[in-house]
Symmetry: C2
């Protein structure tokens, strides 16, 4: 199967699916470029993530879930900016162009794309080591994008959904932790099929003072917000939302999953304490639970308190794709 | 060196370079998304190409030239649409994050980016087999993008620059052809440092009836135009512009380089015969030579005439990234 037949068979859509492309897409797959027409007053938010076998996904992953995740992690970046997804490109390098891989891959891709009403508008396919690169584009009203730099002392720190399940699943795959079959199915789903919080991001426009999506672990990603906003934070460990399975872990592993987990793809955001009702209304609109987990301080640095209010002094690590773990010590 | 340090050291720009970002770039590297603000009345053209070692470039390529080419092939797609480049994202997977690779890679990337006044606004870096994926975004006035579908019977077929040098260099690397050292340097430069015809594409807005960039070989890419436009074409082989080195090849190799070459990154476009003066004016504006090589026919199919006006009946092949060569027979 050649490159053009491959694109025609698996990635070019016809009929109803093509007709459902968002109105901002003027021209999709098939020319040198796609053409997008953002609506007046809108800015275009752009993000790009590349997934590599063995680094971002296990060789055992089902193609359907790989495609889902490749798009989901990009949509999660749009969500963190409060942007409404519009279109995406897909570049796919794979050892062989076979139907057994491509059919479920395309199915997983379009299931998530359709759920968010966005169109695949272009890309590239080539032979090579398995690598999936998605670039996503979304619209946000000018000046309303959520940024990492807007956190202010006194703001509350919030997180959507729950943390740590994806890391727990990874450790089970690695053989370092064991859980029951039911628990494994749930946590594996969190790892392989993250749900980008797009509706929440949009609902938080004008409400949140800053936002970031959790891809590298709570502490690492919060660190980006603190650095960009020139502030510090204090988190209350006991408030971190998690599954019963993560809650049942011993303290070191629980902290690893909750604080350094990676692959959560939840939104971490801040909002003035006076906006609690607006935050809860946004969460209700989006149908996503949110939890207050701490506060922003004027004093730089990241402080963590345990259930007794005592400072946690363990090294706080984030995830880095070149160094397996980076360390930062909490004062 | 971690991912964030790597981005800071090699890909985030400060001072004058950052200040020179195009006005359409509201927010660049450093948040979950970049923010672009296309000007009123502009559409956004988007293209994405992924380069894989051994498939799109040789392991011997200098990092500086690899970066140049990864951006150039994308700019070439914008050129084929008549779009003015605005910004790009870079996703880079590499076995090791070392300065010996990254410093010249960044140098080559920004040299070409600066030449076109565009900003790197985001992306991803990860460990993995060497893979470079660029997504480029440009602006084009609504309704003025050059498309593959606009060729009409009677139009002249034009090509920019000259054809076949990149293929000749590839064959020298493969050991199938030999040339002198000076010739090799010139042809290698064509292969490794293609110059995207951006100014020509912009100048051809409202002049060309269709356009495509030559990445897979003249016949293959012309085939895309003919298919999209529901027309045929007759090309005059003797008119195909080429270097003395390609002209000196025997006929089978000359045809391989000129017709099926690949990696030319010239613009192939059509325009009404009455627009010859406008085409030449556009070429002069852009400072790029253009050559008329044939005409569009109402009759489907692609016909090639030799210098004596005789039909060339050899199989006409294009390049495909899964099948090494695809064949199509000329009637």
């Amino acid at each position: 199967m050649g490159e053009f037949e491959l694109i025609d068979r698996f990635f070019r859509r016809n009929g109803a699916a093509a007709a459902n492309a968002p109105s901002g897409v003027v021209l999709g797959i098939g020319d040198d470029c796609a053409l997008l027409a953002p609506r007046p007053g809108m800015q275009l938010a752009v993000s790009c993530d590349m997934l590599v076998e063995g680094r971002h996904f296990l060789s055992t992953v089902a193609p359907e879930m790989l495609a889902h995740k490749a798009l989901a992690v990009n949509l999660s970046d749009l969500a963190a900016c409060g942007a409404q997804p519009l279109a995406f490109t897909l570049a796919l390098s794979m050892p062989r162009a076979d139907e057994a891989f491509l059919a479920p891959f395309a199915r997983g891709l379009f299931a998530l794309a359709d759920a968010h009403g966005i169109a695949l508008v272009g890309g590239d396919t080539t032979a090579g080591p398995l690598n999936v690169c998605v670039t996503v584009m979304g619209e946000v009203p000018a000046g309303q994008a959520l940024r990492r730099s807007g956190a202010r002392a006194g703001d509350r720190v919030w997180v959507s959904g729950r943390l740590g399940d994806a890391r727990l699943a990874l450790e089970v795959f690695r053989g370092t932790l064991t859980v029951s079959g039911d628990v494994f199915a749930d946590t594996r789903r969190a790892m392989e099929m993250p749900q980008p919080r797009v509706a929440l991001g949009v609902a938080l426009r004008g409400v949140a003072s800053s936002a970031v999506d959790l891809s590298d672990g709570l502490l690492g990603d919060l660190g980006h917000v603190l650095k960009a906003s020139h502030v510090g934070a204090t988190l209350d460990e006991a408030t971190l939302p998690c599954s019963d399975a993560v809650a049942a872990l011993d303290i070191p592993w629980r902290r690893t999953c909750l604080l350094h987990g990676g692959d959560d793809y939840e939104l971490l955001f801040t909002a003035p304490a006076a906006s609690d009702a607006a935050v809860m209304a946004a969460a209700a609109t989006a149908g996503v639970p949110v939890t207050a987990i701490g506060r922003i301080d004027a004093e730089p640095g990241l402080r963590l308190r345990d259930a007794q209010g005592q400072a946690v002094g363990a090294p706080l690590r984030g995830f880095d794709h070149f160094a397996a773990e980076t360390t930062a010590t909490v004062p």
